[in-house]
Symmetry: D2
Subunit: 146 residues, 4 copies
Amino acid sequence: MSEVAEGEGSVTLDLLKKKMADFAKERDWEPYHSPRNLLLAMIGEVGELSEIFQWKGEVPRGLPGWEEREKEHLGEELSDVLLYLVRLSDICGIDLGQAALRKVKLNAIKYPIKLSDQNGKNDANTSKNKDEDACPDNSSSVQHSA
Amino acid sequence: MSEVAEGEGSVTLDLLKKKMADFAKERDWEPYHSPRNLLLAMIGEVGELSEIFQWKGEVPRGLPGWEEREKEHLGEELSDVLLYLVRLSDICGIDLGQAALRKVKLNAIKYPIKLSDQNGKNDANTSKNKDEDACPDNSSSVQHSA
Amino acid sequence: MSEVAEGEGSVTLDLLKKKMADFAKERDWEPYHSPRNLLLAMIGEVGELSEIFQWKGEVPRGLPGWEEREKEHLGEELSDVLLYLVRLSDICGIDLGQAALRKVKLNAIKYPIKLSDQNGKNDANTSKNKDEDACPDNSSSVQHSA
Amino acid sequence: MSEVAEGEGSVTLDLLKKKMADFAKERDWEPYHSPRNLLLAMIGEVGELSEIFQWKGEVPRGLPGWEEREKEHLGEELSDVLLYLVRLSDICGIDLGQAALRKVKLNAIKYPIKLSDQNGKNDANTSKNKDEDACPDNSSSVQHSA
């Protein structure tokens, strides 16, 4: 199935998990792949990703005008974060794909389509939870006040 | 295809990409999903993930002894990072799955299985690049010296 | 006062703020020092800092056995995070030193010395706030259950 | 001297170091303050800081239009990052203030005032080092190409 997934261009998290596990095993890196080691390694990659965007000011969607070299570099840093995240989840015994589907469902319950606007009127005390779930509504109200 | 992928338990990055795009569209959150907004939102989730591990000292693989509640929370934070990473990649026009497969191939070329030990003897000047690619060899040599 | 502070070996945040402001002005970098640019630059440095610790497993206090070269590198990365944090605060119009003193006072009120243990018995719903304030008590209870 | 520094409104890093050490000691939190625990706790606070900026798009200097409540919250999150950074440095045996002064000097040598423009013409291979030292020049060239 992995090969199929790889072939059809729709990459599965299980395929990446297997590739990372094989990669570490073949190089005897498994002893280094503890949860907190992998978490810190992922954070190192998040730093690399941030550096790509750090001096650019606001960046439009689709990155108009970026050189191919830059986009390729961005793809590599995004991948480094993903690969460590997949490996961290595997080492922790978490099925990342199923956890992600579950989280999307929880978010849909938390932010019903019809009520999302009213939710946006919630006060700042709820902003933390909302931020966790990618709801910019309250922040937009903050933004309006800005 | 999405339903199939969802059904067969092997979640694809394309499925998560579609779910995130639909989620944002249905709630009129698209205006907020700019590259740097999503990057900062992802970093917020990386912070939540770090908080789970912050006071625990070294954590063994498989998280022996963790309560179900804790593992569920961990799965949610890992998912939040993944979902923002997928959305950020989409908004940047990067095919995250293909980029990840390519990065794994690049890492395999950079760290040949047979030579990985010798690579480990490289001096500290190369450690940055190596760290980027999850090679703990040089760090292990550092560790030995520690 | 800056010179004095520098001379007497007790570095003030105001001295670092002035040095960062002069440094940017002298190089015409001010246009790049917007709040979110500086925040992302700081996060890039947090990534560099994390890379130093990423493959080491638990590290004892005082870093016994670390080479001077490593400690010097660590000092540089800790400094990079500090310098961007100081600059970000300045650009945002926040007096970081006074804000930090205020936060220490708030933490002291939130975690009375005598009651800190009982606080530790609070359930996980409060762990987020507690974590924000460096209180490992609830995490320790989590840890015990682990 | 600490009291003086506190009194005169120019806060020293030594004062914050002492306050953090006393705070931990009085609450018996020292066993939790290992280098990697503190690093992850600091990263958790960096996440909180990022959440404040995550949905805002570009934010002008001085935060015009932000509510007092928001600025106070920002000051608290900036402080949380600083306090953990100071504590982490102390636990690692690093004199953060002296390290920061040294780093500023190194940066001044690396980016001479007169030559900073030419430096900006360096190719992308040097961008990593330059980014580490808050030099936006090469990024600006990247930006121009964007």
